[in-house]
């Protein structure tokens, strides 16, 4: 029987460890401002 606890533990183990200094990519939108922001 699969218990919630087991899933949570499994999820913990599956989580890929982030390399030190990992910087998430900027969100795809909105894009850059070319002149100035009103």
């Amino acid at each position: 029987a699969l218990t919630k606890k087991a899933v949570a533990e499994a999820a913990q183990h599956d989580k890929v460890p982030r390399p030190v200094g990992f910087v998430p990519p900027p969100p795809p939108c909105p894009g850059k401002i070319r002149h100035f922001d009103i």
């Binding site: 939108c29 909105p30 894009g31 401002i33 070319r34």
Partner: protein, 259 residues
């Protein structure tokens, strides 16, 4: 195993920029009033795949008004964006594009433009003059006096007013009205107009010659009026001027919708 769907486009991806550039050129090419707009920011992009090499693209664009009148032949790349302190006008556009075999076409577009709020301008520049209201009598009087002054001195054709682009009034330390307006050459010389101005009509589309004027009227401490008009010469293909050949004077309010 079916191929994984392509990663969603980012707003700064080259393909997004190409789509936005096409959309902005379409908007400027189909607008008949005011000034050209330049891209300031791609707010959002969504792609719906219709089939091989066939996508529908939904764009949300943030534009800024430039100093180039819409009828000016100046390429958009050479048009200066009006600065914040000059009372910028922003355009918000939703554009639906189709891209088939790499070729863009606009399916629908809807834009709304509006001047920045006076409070925001005065936060940054307390003494900056603001855009005058649409039916300000000082503006209408200045435009009328300026065009009469120009027509009374020119040896070229008599010019008729097409629309007032914008106007600002400063009250301190001097009382100054600055206004910009679009004009069209008529079938009369300025001399002929003195005899019968009612006969002076805008030139037909195949000879049309539009231009732009800038007038500065100083009311205090002493009266002075400076007018400068530049005609573009006949442009081919002339834009759809059916909307421009109205008889009256209109002052384009910065807040306007175009679809």
């Amino acid at each position: 195993v079916p191929a994984a769907p392509p990663a969603p486009l980012g707003c700064d991806d080259p393909e997004s920029e190409a789509a936005a550039e096409f959309a902005v050129n379409y908007i400027n090419g189909h607008n008949h009033h005011g000034y050209k707009f330049a891209l300031n920011r791609i707010e959002d992009i969504r792609v719906v795949h219709q089939g091989p090499n066939n996508d529908i693209i939904f764009l949300e664009l943030d534009l800024l008004e430039t100093k180039c009148p819409i009828l000016s032949p100046t390429p958009l790349a050479n048009c200066t964006v009006r600065s914040f302190a000059e009372h910028a006008v922003e355009g918000d556009c939703d554009v639906k594009l189709q891209k088939v075999d790499g070729i863009f076409s606009v399916v629908a577009s809807n834009c709304h433009s509006h001047a920045d709020s006076s409070e925001d301008i005065h936060k940054v520049c307390p003494d900056c003059p603001l855009l005058a209201k649409m039916n300000n009598t000082e503006v209408l009087e200045t435009v009328s006096a300026a065009l009469n002054d120009y027509n009374s001195k020119t040896t070229d054709s008599y010019l008729r007013l097409l629309e007032i682009g914008r106007a600002k009034i400063q009250y301190h330390p001097a009382h100054i009205v600055v206004t910009e307006f679009a004009v069209g050459a008529t079938n009369c010389s300025a001399e002929e107009a003195k005899a019968n101005v009612g006969a002076c009509q805008l030139l037909p589309e195949d000879q049309s010659n539009f231009g732009f004027c800038r007038a500065v009227m100083v009311k205090r401490p002493s009266q002075d009026l400076q007018v400068d008009c530049q005609l573009y010469g006949h442009q081919v293909p002339a834009p759809d001027i059916s909307l421009l050949s109205w008889p009256g004077v209109t002052y384009i309010h910065p807040g306007q919708d175009t679809s």
